[in-house]
């Protein structure tokens, strides 16, 4: 849960259409990201002010992109996860996004 997982933005898309009357305040979007070869959809709602574009790298917490980082920092973070012995946990988390590999 407390893992920060680096992922590369592949494609950005709108998640749901805004309900009537809330268009201005409600425009959530999601992105297809790739983490060590695994592609899953994550939420971009917490980067509304600084939206990433395809090719950008982000740190992901519980399925939400939390901050933009450089490609080098992404590689370093992956290495840190590996050294911490958290890589399996991180990949299990990513694979579980969207309920794909669980339940």
């Amino acid at each position: 849960m407390c893992l920060a997982i680096p992922g590369k933005i592949i494609e950005v898309s709108s998640l749901i259409s805004a309900p009537p009357g809330q268009e201005s305040s409600w425009s959530p979007s999601s992105a297809l990201v790739e983490v060590a070869g695994v592609r899953r959809r994550i939420d971009l709602g917490l980067l509304e002010d600084d939206k990433p574009v395809p090719g950008d790298w982000v740190l992901i917490h519980v399925g939400f992109a939390m901050s933009k980082i450089s490609e080098q920092d992404a590689a370093d973070q992956m290495n840190t996860l590996r050294m911490l012995g958290e890589i399996d946990g991180a990949m299990q988390e990513v694979e579980g996004y969207g309920l794909e590999d669980v339940n």
Binding site: M1, C2, A4, I16, A18, P19, Q22, W26, P28, I42, D43, G45, L46, L47, E48, D49, L59, H61, V62, G63, F64, M66, S67, I69, S70, D73, D76, N79, T80, R82, M83, L84, G85, E86, Q92, E93, V94, G96, Y97, G98, L99, V102, N103
Partner: protein, 376 residues
């Protein structure tokens, strides 16, 4: 044993370790608390203690959300999910945390509908997929995860999904630090500030620690080099009798935090007047609950919550360990009754809990020197 070349900039690590030895080369005893459980894990895993001089003492803080959750809250959540119409959804970290009648996983084995989710938005997805059931998301975490729960609730409200609620156990880090500083048996000189919480809240909320408490704090990354650099920054401040907030983790943490995340939290949550922390007791305004506008998605308003209060087993000294008064091995149960396989206290459950980290890595030291000692 890990290989030396796994570490980023080994030559810089070596120089930084040398700088630490130079800066701490006096009789003075330095006591620093790393607030975040991620740092605790990294410190043990990388064997950082092996290369720090003996007069630098690292104290493990309360920043492990699983560890500070009182057992009564787990019992409360599970009691609601006794209703066969309710699905209990939680992060994997929660699954092995013991309640008085067993962990969520053990309840699942007895027939309760318990599901692991890796994101709050997937708990909402479960609700969409199971319109005849009620999905209760057992939310835990500091400011790192609270914004994601907030956005999920905003989405549930916008979409009008009514078979979904959040049992909110989100806590905030600043009041916990305040409580630790106020604790009479705690003597601390400096803080290694949490990395990922700070991506959300930024560095400004720590300013009172520098100004009012006159203690330095450095927000730190998680690599060995990050933590060592943070120790250098703290030593420089302490030796100069300064107290400032500094940011070692600039590549990820903006000084002002993440405005969108803070906005989502402000929209959905308000501060609870009081919340009980395991080991720290009741701390005012230290946890979040849902605002009135979200009452319909608030488990505690939708259901009757028993409000179970459980005293930790007397022999377990989780509280003293959490406050940094005792080292994990000084607890009477450590390594005997309480192990990662059969945890009595929550500090033994999570890899970020100081007891589990200590158990997993400290024992190993006798047999294998850490790769870091070879660099430094």
């Amino acid at each position: 044993m890990r290989f030396v070349d796994e570490f980023r900039s080994p030559e810089l690590i070596s120089k930084t370790a040398e700088e630490i030895r130079r800066l701490a080369g006096s009789e003075r005893h330095y006591r620093m608390m790393e607030v975040c459980g991620g740092h605790t894990h990294a410190i043990y895993r990388f064997g950082l203690k092996d290369i720090l001089p003996e007069n630098i003492e690292l104290i493990h803080g309360p920043g492990c959300p699983v560890c500070v959750l009182p057992m009564g809250r787990i019992d409360d959540g599970l009691s609601i999910a006794q209703d066969t119409n309710v699905i209990f959804a939680a992060f994997g970290d929660m699954m092995r945390v013991p309640g008085t009648q067993g962990s969520p996983l053990e309840h699942k084995a007895r027939g309760m509908d318990v599901r692991i989710v890796y994101s709050p938005s997937d708990a909402l997805k479960l609700a969409r997929l199971n319109p005849d059931k009620h999905v209760m998301f057992f939310a835990i975490g500091f400011e790192t995860t609270a914004p994601s729960t907030a956005l999920t609730l905003m989405r549930a409200r916008a979409e009008g999904i009514r078979n979904f609620s959040v049992f909110c156990n989100h806590v905030t880090i600043i009041p916990a630090m305040r409580a630790i500083l106020a604790s009479p048996d705690m003597r601390l000189e400096a803080f290694i500030g949490p990395g990922h919480v700070s991506t959300v809240i930024g560095c400004r909320p720590y300013e009172w620690i520098a100004k009012a408490e006159h203690k330095p704090i450095v927000v730190s990354g998680f690599e060995p080099l990050d933590i060592l650099q943070s120790v250098v920054m703290l030593l420089r401040q302490l030796n100069a009798s300064e107290a400032k907030v500094e940011n070692q983790y600039k590549r990820v943490v903006p000084w002002e935090g993440n405005p969108a995340a803070l906005k989502a939290m402000a929209e959905v949550f308000e501060l609870r007047p009081y919340f009980e922390w395991r080991g720290l007791g009741t701390i005012p305004q230290s946890a979040l609950s849902l605002r009135e506008e979200y009452a319909e998605w608030d488990t505690e308003r939708r259901f009757t919550v028993p409000g179970i209060r459980v005293t930790d087993p007397k022999a377990a000294q989780c509280g003293e360990v959490l406050r940094g008064v005792l080292k994990p091995r000084q607890c009477k149960l450590f390594g005997r009754e309480c192990t990662p396989e059969r945890p009595v206290g929550a500090l033994m459950v999570s890899s970020e809990g100081s007891c589990a980290a200590y158990y997993n890595y400290e024992h190993r030291k006798a047999t294998a020197p850490s790769a870091l000692t070879m660099i430094a």
